[in-house]
């Protein structure tokens, strides 16, 4: 784990969220979904941390916990030296102006009956008391910053394409000059050609303003382009975190390796020559995660120890990995898993 420095904007430790599953006549808690189960990570000023994982990994829950849109079961979220979870309502409201969020679906995150001026202007009215021409002036600046035009000011969301709507959401999120922007699958609903536009926009805003991004996505190839560092999640835990290029080219955890091998490369020659790792079976339920290492039931290198003892994040190259392969068996000692011979052949499709 990176030690917090003056450079650290966000420090998350032991972050946990268990959702109760109720049932029966009395709606008693029958079980708990362990959506996020003890996360530690930091985000530095001006840095992008990518959070990658598949459905059910807990990545979106993590984003919501950081902004305290939902209350964690346990853990600490320290933002610019302030323990966010201890703030009262008023102080939390002020704090929110410094941490903003954009979502996957730009269609449902804009009020269909509000003009662009109203949507982007609302945070300016609420937090800075701006009205009328003064407010609209600021909105026009924001529109231009995200590549839209002043004449878009009085239009409604339905008049825009998906990519343009995401730009409106970005403008709204930037209105109060936040220090942190949590991006939850911001380009997943967009076409490839538009996806690239939005990613470049986010990067150029970051260059200009020094904003930090927590970029949540299922797509490791997209995340690589925006992130300085990447955290890979599986069933509520971080299995590997580290330098973006290292994660992409020299993974230190078998799950990261699997994710990378599953992304189809847009080149038939390369794609058909690649060795693909097909995972065994389906992801286990977060209601009852496997014992020991949560990935052991599907891992092609699983050893006996993996079913018994839960591995902890330990330094590996320019990052950390939670995997027994580094200490037991082949004893990788922080090296990449790429050269290992599988001990469990995955079942055929």
């Amino acid at each position: 784990m990176t030690e917090p420095t003056s450079d650290t904007l966000l420090e998350v430790s032991g972050l946990t969220k268990h959702f109760p599953v109720r049932g029966g006549v009395l709606q008693r808690t029958k079980a708990r979904v362990r959506a996020v189960d003890g996360l530690d990570f930091t985000v530095r000023r001006g840095e992008t941390l990518g959070l990658v994982g598949e459905s059910g990994s807990g990545k979106s829950t993590t984003g919501r916990l950081v902004l305290r849109l939902i209350e964690p079961t346990a853990g600490r979220v320290v933002f610019d030296g302030v323990d966010v979870l201890k703030l009262g309502r008023g102080a939390m409201r002020d704090m929110r102006s410094r941490m903003q969020m954009i979502f996957q679906d730009p269609y449902s995150s804009l009020d269909p009956q509000a003009t662009v001026a109203d949507s982007i202007g609302e945070p300016l009215s609420v937090h800075e008391g701006l009205r009328g021409a003064k407010r609209d002036g600021r909105v026009v600046e924001l529109l231009e910053r995200v590549g839209l035009k002043p004449q878009h000011l009085h239009r409604y969301p339905y008049e825009f394409s998906g990519g343009q709507r995401q730009r409106i959401c970005i403008a709204r999120a930037l209105a109060l000059k936040p220090d942190l922007l949590v991006c939850d699958e911001p380009v997943s609903a967009l076409d490839v050609s538009i996806q690239a536009q939005v990613i470049n926009l986010l990067k150029s805003i970051q260059r200009d303003t020094g904003i930090s991004l927590l970029f949540i996505s299922h797509d490791l190839s997209v995340v690589r382009h925006v992130s300085d560092r990447i955290a890979v999640m599986y069933l509520g835990r971080i299995v590997e975190i580290g330098d973006s290029e290292q994660i992409y080219t020299q993974p230190r955890h078998p799950y990261t390796e699997t994710l990378l091998s599953a992304i189809p490369v847009p080149n038939p020659v390369t794609q058909r020559r690649r060795e693909r790792i097909l995972l065994r079976g389906e992801p286990p339920s977060p209601l009852d995660p496997p014992s020991g290492c949560r990935f052991h039931t599907r891992c092609q290198y699983a050893m006996d120890v993996c079913a018994v003892e839960e591995p902890v994040l330990a330094p590996a190259g320019r990052g950390s990995s939670a995997c027994h392969l580094h200490d037991y068996g082949p004893g990788l000692g922080g090296g990449t898993v790429l050269d290992l011979e599988p001990t469990h052949r995955p079942v055929p499709a």
Partner: protein, 345 residues
Amino acid sequence: MSRHTIANDTRANDTADDEIVLSVRNLSVEFATGNGYTRVVDDVSFSLRPRETMGIVGESGSGKSVTSMSIMRLIPTPPGRIANGEIVFAGQDLLQLSELEMRRIRGDRISMIFQEPLTALNPAYTIGNQLVEAIRTHREITRKQATERAAELLDLVGIPSPRQRLLDYPHQFSGGMLQRAMIAGALACDPELLIADEPTTALDVTIQAQILELLRRVQEEFGMSMLFISHDLGVIADVCDRVGVMYAGQLVESSDVFELFARPFHPYTEGLLRAMPQHTAGSEELVPIPGTTPDLASVEAQCRFEPRCRHAVAGCGETVVPLETVGAREVRCLRAHHLELEGAS
């Protein structure tokens, strides 16, 4: 695996007559909008050979799904209408068939799987019930025999303990398992053609890899042709033999998959390849295609990609551009002969 000999026989005859399973000719589809009809598929032609996988790639609104729905005759009419064209399958124009005749083909000789398996299944019936129903619609066999066959199919698509899973309802299946069940249903009557419309788009990448592997395997085993609709060039590169690229309702290029990726002929194909995150190394800027797709209600007859094209010159926006045959490939671009476009990296 028991095979339906009748289907096999007809297939042998068809292919002997003509090495084409499906031929779409000059298909145009329109939808009613506030002011008249908007053409969402414009003069699309392509054909599929036996055992071939043809991919149709394009972004939202390109008309790729409407094309596949037209083949199944699933376009809601109104508001939609097929304005022109022929869809020739096994020697007959599907567009001339009655609804009853079409129903005999759907799910039997042509099957389809969709992006959202959950919405394609009835939540109130068990998986087994729905498979048995699908089989018995087209085959005169007993319920018991059909159940037997359904279990075989689930086993074939890699669903563990198939006999028990037949009793499950759709909500008891995960997304990946549901898509496997859908594939089982699509294979029930040993089809000659499988249309897969974004079959892995809603799935996680590791599950997508499993499903693509499965589709490859069953295509081989059943000797089907496959029409594979996707927005993802990576998936297309993985499974297709040939590819058609659609933009704003038109086919702009079609080619063998290796040639297409090595050297695209149409600037839109090049733009899509360059926009893929894998095209750009490390943390460099991605290369978007500027602008957005045109509003189909107001497109003109000339090149529809011209406003976004980095190779456009004066004249591109003024002339009607036909689909031109270049060797075994086709392209809709005035400058195709002068351009040396960038392929996949």
